[in-house]
Symmetry: C2
Subunit: 470 residues, 2 copies
């Protein structure tokens, strides 16, 4: 968007959001949902019929708690915050951002109070992304992650530096795109329902189960864009495999942010950084990018899995990533509780980066303004990234228990069984079950960081000999 369009965009978004919210909270909708209670009760709770009424009612009951004027103001202030965020980053000037942080934080506080009483104000915001999850649960999970990840990272970074020079060089746009497309096609992407386009910040959006849009950015000097495609593919596959009968109902969506992220991280990391996967695809990579012809597969694979604390969350490796999220979660809770004032955000962020990762941001764009999420104080989203990593390994282990050794399958290019398992146990249900119940049904237990931690510890020991007490 051209800069001069930002003010009008803020007004437009506020208008559309207010109009949409009016419909979400229309009393006539509430009456219809009441009329449908006998219909819902006459159907099996697992049925489409009962589910669609149940989920629509839950959405309605949440929506009516928020006055349309506040909803519109959140949208307007968020748009203005976004513009300020762009400017503050470009000029490395936090004073541009501070009033927007304060304003948006104040509005989030008003939003939280719409749902009083609550055990923890952060619960209210978390529930928008991860229905049913409590802040106390996240605190407990993140404490275990911190306890185990910090020594793990120390152990692996104390070893010999991993040579990842093969991932840097000059790579053509077309070759990167062809490699990405061929891998995703082997995983089930097709031209009938999917697109891949270019963007600055990669994302996935689906406008219907038959209209899945992936975006990525291929840089000329590294191959990160390929991994980024595989990440967005995971989001797309989830939306693509929702039961088509759910189309245009409240059920036709991913169940939560953590579940969505579990799918993107599963395809990016568990599949996309795996040796057996690349046993199958490495000849393709070498054909398209001849510089890899002199690089042994194992060297490439080690490089893909290099662990090194860095400044930016989105570029972080699979292991340090978790600490980026943990520190954001801690800061968000402190901002919301008022124990951290917005003016002190940059210092608090930088101090924790030094403490957890040993690196100090040189500027705002590599520090507390690196992510878009705080441009409108969208608190509650960050933790779901790491919960997604946790869930991804729980699903993976259960799928492998059902389907047999994945390495054996992947090195022969057999990805369909995993795609189908995910459809059967996760994707097709859309929002039919709450995340907690969906996980229970899929893996037979609650969310548990142990498989994720065990996976990382085993992998790092195998790859880099990083022996840690576990």
């Amino acid at each position: 968007m051209p800069p001069a369009g930002a003010t009008a965009r803020a007004e437009q978004r506020a208008t559309v959001e207010a109009a949409a919210h009016e419909r979400r909270v229309d009393p006539a909708l509430g009456e219809l949902l009441e009329e449908l209670r006998p219909f819902e009760e006459a159907h099996d709770p697992d049925s489409f019929e009962a589910g669609v009424v149940r989920v629509a009612r839950r959405d309605y009951e949440k929506a009516v708690c928020v006055p349309p004027a506040l909803q519109a103001e959140l949208e307007r202030a968020g748009s203005l915050g976004y513009r300020a965020w762009l400017q503050a980053r470009a000029e490395n000037d936090y004073s541009v951002m501070l009033p927007h942080i304060e304003r948006n934080l104040d509005l989030r506080g008003q939003y939280v109070e719409c749902f009083a009483p609550h055990d923890d104000p952060y619960d209210v915001l978390l529930d928008d992304y991860e229905p049913g999850m409590t802040t106390a649960e996240v605190v407990a999970i993140f404490a275990r992650l911190k306890e185990r990840l910090v020594p793990l990272i120390r152990a692996v970074t104390e070893g010999d530096p991993v040579d990842d020079s093969c991932l840097h060089g000059t790579f053509s746009y077309e070759a990167q795109r062809r490699v990405s497309m061929e891998i995703m096609r082997a995983w089930g992407m097709d031209d009938d329902a999917w697109r891949l386009d270019d963007t600055v910040h990669p994302f996935e959006v689906s406008l219907a189960t038959g209209d899945i849009r992936l975006t990525t950015r291929f840089d000329a000097d590294n191959v990160h864009g390929i991994l980024s495609c595989l990440h967005e593919f995971g989001h797309g596959l989830y939306e693509r495999q929702v039961d088509p009968r759910y189309a245009r109902t409240s059920l036709a969506d991913g169940v939560s942010s953590a579940f969505h992220e579990s799918q993107s991280r599963l395809w990016e990391n568990l599949v996309g950084r795996r040796l057996s996967t690349w046993r199958f695809f490495y000849p393709l990579l070498q054909r398209e990018m001849p510089t890899f012809q002199s690089v042994p597969l194992e060297t490439f694979h080690r490089a893909l899995n290099k662990v090194q604390p860095t400044l930016r969350r989105v570029d972080a490796d699979e292991v340090t990533y978790g600490l980026h999220v943990v520190l954001r979660f801690e800061i968000e809770r402190e901002l919301l509780a008022g124990s951290l004032h917005p003016r002190d955000l940059p210092d608090a962020f930088d101090a924790r980066m030094v403490e957890y990762l040993g690196v100090r941001p040189p500027d705002l764009a590599n520090g507390c303004l690196q992510d878009v999420h705080w441009s409108d104080m969208s608190l509650g989203y960050f933790p779901t990234y790491q919960l997604g990593n946790v869930v991804s390994v729980q699903l993976w282990e259960r799928a492998e228990a059902d389907l047999g050794d994945f390495d054996e399958q992947f090195e022969h290019g057999e990805f369909d069984p995993l795609v189908e398992w995910l459809r059967e146990h996760v994707h097709r249900y859309g929002r039919l079950y709450e995340p907690r119940e969906l996980l229970e049904r899929a893996v037979g237990g609650p969310i548990d960081p142990e498989p994720y931690l065990g996976y990382l510890e085993r992998k790092l020991e195998e790859l880099f000999g990083a022996a840690v007490a576990s």
Copy 2:
């Protein structure tokens, strides 16, 4: 959009259009507009205050004539027609398209009857694009155009063939883009409020007066994309120069399709194909595209203005373009009146192409399905393209009478006086006046094809010695 997304898109568009239409026809809006009558009458009719109420009421009074269900159905059938149009073109199979033409034509007929009684059913559709214009006026104008353009084209095509080989070759994307941008910047485009992006079918869209989006397509083997940019620039400049006080009101838009097209054609043809313009910009073109270094300016200018009957409206030269529009207008009236059955559309189209232009379409994509407009039977739009050409020359002659010889200004790179004249006499008013009144105020008279015909006849005689009785 991926093909599998089309059905959902049709439903989404129908839903959004129905929701928007409900608001447009909300009785509360009608009551507010009634309450505002004394306010409107207390203000000068030329004022913003009176104008915004008057125009909002006119929009409301038109909208309430159309049932929301019909409005939604037009949107749904239009989306499905679009998908069928893509398929029918790709497969050169009219049977794919026929049921959609029939359905959309039937819906247009229902729409027309919402506005009964009317003198001519086509008046109703024309009014959506060209408020206040009657079919009878268009018939009279087009009769004069046909009478003069047919012999003019014959005279010019009977002369020696014009060598336009310099416009064909190999031209880099980047060079074409830089040339286009530098020309448009000299005309007032800036990065604060404008963007230029790539597309298959060029268009302009403005989301606010500070958010002007142009799109184009640069082909490697010709420079047509540059002229296409200049065309879209004209649309963009109109939206950019609407009085900023009108933002987010009913006044903040171009007044009609013909006025919009007059602006795009003015910048594309009257400025963009002019010798004095290229006296200023040709060194830029030669610097960016060295093949032009051996081409004399006059050769390039003659090539830019070559007249040759061809199959496709969008690629047509400035002179034959008018006949493409006239034949579409005639066919649209016959379809609406029922004197031409949709199944006979391809034959009727091809026969008239032979009669008016001497060329026979080899397939549907170069024949009656070449334009998107009939995919949803958006009748009434085509004539405004040619009315725009007519208006563009009326405005041009009046501006030059006010400002002095444009050739003298352009060859020194002075385009600001024209940009400012258009702002002052056309753009800033947005929709404040009806098109007829705006034209009267700007040029001192009604729409008149004579300046346009005189301009073409003079230009062709000067350039190609095509002497015609005029």
